[in-house]
Amino acid sequence: MSKAEIKSNKMLNATMGLKNIMGRHFLAIEQAYRDGKPTAWATSGSPVEILYAMDVQPMLPENSATVSAAQKYSQNFIEMAEEEGYSYDLCSYFKTNVGAVKSEADMIKGGTRKPTFMLSTDVICDTHVNWFQVQAERFNVPHFTIDVPHVVSNTNQRQYNYFKKYVVEQLYEFLDFIQEVTGHEYDEERARQITQNSWDLSMVWQDIYELRKVVPCPISTRDTFGGLFPLFTMPGLKEPIRLYKKMYKEAKARVDNGIGALEQENFRLMFEGIPFWYNLKYFGTLERWGAIIVYEPYTYAFSKYMNPNVTKEMVLNQPIEAMAELMLSFWYIYDFETRVKKFEETVRDWKIDGVLLHNNMSCRPNSCGLYDLKRKLMDEADIPCLIIDADMNDPRKLNETQVTNQIESFIEILRQRKKK
């Protein structure tokens, strides 16, 4: 790659290919309906790999909800759900989905079709289970939920072991459930192939993240917020691996040439929480201060293979056990102590100047603990933090002017610290 080619300092060229990849995902869904192949809704954090391994086409309504938001339809859908009696205070992904289904929206507007069955888990939130209960009743389709015990700061190894046993048992029950509903059998060889791809996909994503440690950071949220979707929707397929590899190569070339995503990188930030999908441009405004987000636990979390006890061998040879272990131990559900520790490590390793914490009104599981997290990071580790109140899919809950003023003052604090 010539220096001229790599000088683009905004989105990576490779990220442009994301549209095609996601297009393929939606085409695969259409094709599945045409072929009469079974389909399933799945919540994030659930083992989508099992669906691919059993030849069931997954659909992730959360992903679709972000599409609605990006296309500026989410508010309308949310209000439709509220008319049905769903509270203003409930998760806006859920309400977006209720409105999208009710209005029979196209996939490009974030619509989702009636699946053969639904798979939820409470690993991340109650909402996932309640949401699919609502929609499974509406569509009259079977719904399987995986109950994941909650790991807290003082959970011991003994407990962890029987937590895992419970999840493993349910995953095997889930295989039986799929077989019963679809007639498809679990094929170990196919499962191995799928988990191999899922592993590879995550590893490239993690490699991309490694590059973000470099100053200046080669890629910004323009690449990661959208780039995350294949991890949700296509873990187990080959195409997204190729895309991620291209992203990596391009980012690496930037690193090798000392080029950052910003022309002038002044402040390196971390962003905790889900972005405002209806206003992704907002994150571009950080550039006016030379600030760049170099780490988002949210986009990193779904490259799930982070638990050192889950080795590649385990993933390939005992995929069910590996999945169970991962469901108990990934970024998005860390107990408070681990969460603080991970934040401190990340701030150090990614050379972060300040942390933005999104107090997401939709996502109580994620916003729970933010206040203490902020206090710990600031008081014990001297890391500046700012809490922003907003919502990931409901534009009514973002007060842009207020948030901008807060960030501006925050940047000023970071500036003063740098002068010292």
Binding site: D126, Q133, H150, S153, F336
Partner: protein, 345 residues
């Protein structure tokens, strides 16, 4: 005697195990006359009003006899906030019990494992032995309390006992020494047997459901507006005593089965089955209507409400859904809605 505080969005904690350890199970309730100022420094104000209130009380200091806390898996609030309790409170014994969301065979096995872990940790920490015999004794004791409460509850149907008076008794049963509880309930039972019914013909008989309600004043407030809570579907209510534990089975297994088979709370799966529970009670007790109360920001109830609304509409049973802020002053603002409902039923 020393107590173990229970932080539970329902009544999913096996009190028998605590009793068998020689301790008093003490379910934590809120105080709707205080503001959660300190708790708001830890939990955003758009999260459940009730758990924030509980945390407020806990930060300010609990009864000094309380020497440990058990948090029990219920909704996202109890689950996620337990770590905050660990941060804010200074108890040597704090245990999170993962009462399962599902109610099948694997859930049963898991719950048994988790209860065994609770036993191990109680034994190690308090240097006690929780024997099968002690567990059997405490199951018997609790079954006795359940039977007494169930019998007393029927005086609500006979229009002898007001819902608020009954509510206060169930609360008491969840906090006091169980031997004391038995004595109080036995004497109350005798008293109710001789008490005359109240003769208000205009009274509206309702079933109360929703988030758990621990403020007896709220029940009194509903009574002042013309309702009689003839039956309920609450943790501070029927969910605490409706079924009995099998006394012949191995105690831990019996305890686990009891909790997985009792009338479902909205925090468990599938929560829509709660509709069947309410419907059945509504039929048996020939209620005039259903009042479903959600504590402000209570997600489990907020998710289920439109389904309940639809189903009760189909059955042509009047149904009222109200969100309540856990604050006595704010109840008054709801009077118009409750009164309008009383008028139509």
């Amino acid at each position: 005697m020393k107590k173990i505080g229970i932080f539970d969005s329902g009544v999913e904690t096996p009190e028998e195990i605590i009793l068998a350890a020689g301790l008093i199970p003490y379910r934590l309730f809120g105080d709707p006359t205080i503001e959660p100022d300190k708790a708001n420094e830890h939990i955003p104000p758009t999260h459940c009003v009730w758990t924030r209130n509980l945390l407020e009380k806990a930060i300010k200091g609990l009864d000094e006899d309380i020497i440990g806390i058990i948090g029990t898996h219920g909704c996202d609030r109890t689950n996620r906030e337990f770590d905050i309790w660990l941060e804010c409170l200074n108890f040597d014994f704090m245990f999170f019990l993962n009462s399962p969301r599902k109610r099948d065979e694997s859930a049963l096995k898991f719950f048994i494992d988790d209860m065994k872990e609770l036993i191990t940790q109680l034994e190690d920490h308090f240097n006690v032995k929780i024997t099968t015999e002690k567990l059997r004794e405490s199951i018997k004791k609790m079954n006795n309390i359940r039977s007494l409460l169930k019998e007393i509850s029927e005086f609500r149907k006979k229009m002898i006992l007001k819902g608020s008076e009954f509510h206060a008794l169930v609360k008491l049963a969840q906090q006091q020494d169980k031997d004391e509880v038995v004595k109080i309930l036995e004497s109350k039972l005798e008293e109710f047997k001789t008490r005359n019914p109240f003769l208000d013909t205009n009274i509206k008989k309702v079933i109360l459901t929703g988030s758990d309600i621990d403020d007896t004043e709220f029940i009194k407030y509903l009574e002042e507006l013309g309702f009689h809570i003839i039956i309920d579907d609450l943790g501070v209510g029927t969910k605490y005593f409706w079924d009995l534990i099998d006394e012949n089975e191995e105690p831990i297994v019996a305890l686990a089965k009891y909790h997985l088979n009792k009338p479902i709370h909205s925090t468990k799966f599938p929560s829509y089955e709660r509709f069947e529970v309410i419907k059945k009670l509504a039929e048996i007790y020939e209620v005039d209507g259903i009042i479903n109360i959600a504590q402000k920001f209570c997600e489990p109830i907020l998710y289920d409400h439109p389904y309940m609304n639809k189903m009760f509409k189909n059955l042509e049973i009047p149904y009222l859904f109200v969100e309540v802020t856990y604050n006595r002053e704010s109840y008054k603002q709801l009077s118009t809605r409750f009164s309008a409902f009383a008028e139509i039923i």
